[in-house]
């Protein structure tokens, strides 16, 4: 029972972190039609910036400054990079973001080294908030949850209640029409791209110290974030939240379960030789494949994702 509660809590933390990354990306993809392959790279930059800043002046300033820096970088990339490439079509934009992801992936180890940096949880929150079945639950994880929930609430209110939110929601389906009605759509694009990057940066700041801050972290999460955005439906914030939490729970649960794969397959009528290579595997070994399996299944059943806004 306590084990299940622990899986739920950890799944929630991980799912909310995925949401912070995917909420920005889903708006960018939904509104601008840009499959931003560099999105997870901004997450990595957030973690590294936060590490450097927290070594210098502490974690709390880093929590504010690092996402802002990443956001400004995002604005610059959109305004002076993507917008120029935009004229050459979608493929050029896609290649541009792939190139950007590679550049960030090469520059980070040049500056911070190839191995993980010792980016740590702030001492003020590094204590057990409560104990569950003999396992201490760290207060910092509760803090992560609080930040994520606040971001979701803020984002939702901004989209539902502000003028900019209305323009963004309208532009999710018909950007050219919104421009015809006299709105400065390119500027809204820049703003959304910058805000999306800042959110990815914030995810890096609060996640980089719980997980690890290494040059491989962007790659590790990038594909999962894409799976979340596609599952949730392009442009849908609630869809991104549901997909993030689902992947968070399922992946955490499958990592924790060490039941042999053979036993599970045997129960659904696919017995494996318990002494063969496959028979030795546990569910945990298959965990990394789970998000993509879910993605493929969902797309086969409903190509628009859970709550997609765009039909194309």
């Amino acid at each position: 029972m306590q084990e299940i509660l622990l899986v739920l809590l950890n799944g929630l933390v991980y799912g909310l972190l995925l949401f912070m990354l995917s909420s920005g990306l889903t708006l960018i993809v939904g509104m601008m039609g840009v499959l931003n392959f560099a999105h997870a790279s901004f997450y990595m930059l957030g973690a590294y910036f936060a590490y450097t800043i927290s070594v210098g002046i502490g974690f709390w300033p880093a929590l504010v400054i690092a996402p802002l820096l990443v956001g400004v970088l995002g604005v610059v990339v959109e305004r002076y990079g993507l917008r120029a490439v935009h004229r050459n079509g979608k493929l050029a934009e896609l290649l541009f973001t792939v190139g950007l992801a590679f550049i960030i992936g090469e520059v980070v180890p040049l500056i911070w080294g190839r191995t993980a940096v010792p980016y740590r949880v702030p001492a003020a929150l590094d204590f057990p908030a409560f104990t569950l079945g003999g396992i201490n639950y760290q207060a910092y994880r509760l803090f992560m949850m609080a930040v994520s929930v606040a971001i979701f609430a803020g984002l939702y209110a901004a989209l539902a209640r502000t003028r900019l939110g209305l323009v963004i929601r309208a532009a999710l389906t018909h950007p050219e029409m919104v421009a015809m009605l006299g709105h400065n759509v390119p500027r809204v694009f820049t703003l959304v791209f910058g805000a999306g990057c800042a959110l990815a940066g914030l995810a890096g700041v609060i996640g980089g110290n719980v997980f690890t801050t290494t040059p491989g972290m962007a790659e590790a999460l990038g594909a999962i974030v894409f799976a979340v955005v596609i599952m949730g439906g392009l442009g849908s914030i609630p869809g991104a939240l549901i997909a993030s939490l689902a992947i968070g729970f399922i992946q955490t649960a499958s990592v924790t379960l060490d039941a042999p794969l053979g036993a599970v397959l045997g129960r659904i009528g696919l017995p494996l030789d318990p002494h063969g290579a496959l028979g030795q595997l546990t569910i945990a070994h298959a965990a990394p494949a789970v998000p993509y399996l879910m993605l493929v299944l969902l797309l086969a059943l409903n190509p628009r994702g859970l709550m997609g806004a765009r039909a194309d």
């Binding site: 502000t162 003028r163 323009v167 929601r169 389906t173 018909h174 006299g182 806004a309």
Partner: protein, 253 residues
């Protein structure tokens, strides 16, 4: 006498070697309803594209309320007060009727800049939208997603989007196309209400709608104006009967 709402001065347009419009001139006085009729391929839609800036003129000029707007971009012309109805496909399907009108009216109500502020706090725009909802007969449907409206309601909302932005001159391309008899009658009543105090130019195939609504009619055939004037004079014009009306001539008598 004030300048006409819309004045076309000897417009010419060709696509390659094919001449689409030849020397089309037309003055539409402010506050009137004007219908443009003619057989398919007469150049009616091209004429609208030229006026709204979607296509470039080869020769001639377009004047809106006394200002030369020749060669301006579509959104600059829109901001000067000339709106064209958009297609049904350009409504925002996931936004409510109210929100559709809000997006369209924000700019004109001057709240395009205060992006971060709550939308509900802008009373002038809210009042304007309520007025438009009543005019469009969409009051009870204000919170329904535009994508879920009936076809005739979508056409009405489409016109509403053009108007809530403050346009004084509206171009409508076949506003009653695809509607049933009853829907057409309601649409005519709606157009009558909406055009009060505005200038309306419409392309329309349904001649009963044309004769019901229009203060003046222009007949286009083969890229040229063959008749223009009050319905009574167009009705009696022999060239119009020969060029266009033919089988439909009984409507005129």
């Amino acid at each position: 006498m004030s300048a006409p709402a819309l004045s076309l001065r000897s417009l010419h347009k060709s696509f390659g070697a094919t001449s689409i419009l030849r020397d089309v001139s037309l003055d539409i006085p402010a506050g009137t309803r004007h219908a443009i009729i003619g057989p398919n391929g007469a150049g009616k839609s091209t004429l609208f594209h030229l006026v709204t800036g979607r296509l470039r003129l080869d020769r001639g000029s377009v004047w809106l309320a006394g200002d030369d707007i020749t060669g301006q971009s579509p959104h600059a012309i829109f901001r000067r007060g000339l709106a064209r109805s958009f297609q049904v496909t350009s409504l925002f399907p996931r936004l409510s009727v109210f929100e559709n009108l809000r997006v369209a009216g924000m700019r004109a109500a001057g709240c395009g800049h205060a992006f971060w502020r709550r939308i509900d706090g802008f009373a002038a725009l809210g009042a304007r939208i309520e007025e438009m909802l009543a005019l469009l007969d969409l009051g009870p449907r204000r919170d329904v997603a535009a994508g879920a409206l009936a076809y005739a309601e979508q056409r009405a909302l489409e016109i509403g989007l053009a108007l809530v932005g403050g346009a004084h001159t509206i171009l409508l391309d076949e506003p009653t196309a695809g509607m049933s008899r009853a829907e057409t009658e309601r649409a005519v009543a709606l157009l009558r209400r909406l055009s009060a105090g505005r200038t309306l130019v419409m392309i329309e195939h349904d001649l009963s709608v044309v004769f019901d609504l229009a203060d003046a009619i222009t007949v286009l055939a083969d890229g040229g104006v063959i008749a223009s004037g009050p319905p009574a004079s167009v009705r009696g014009d022999a060239r119009v009967r020969a060029a266009y009306l033919g089988a439909a001539a009984e409507v005129l008598t």
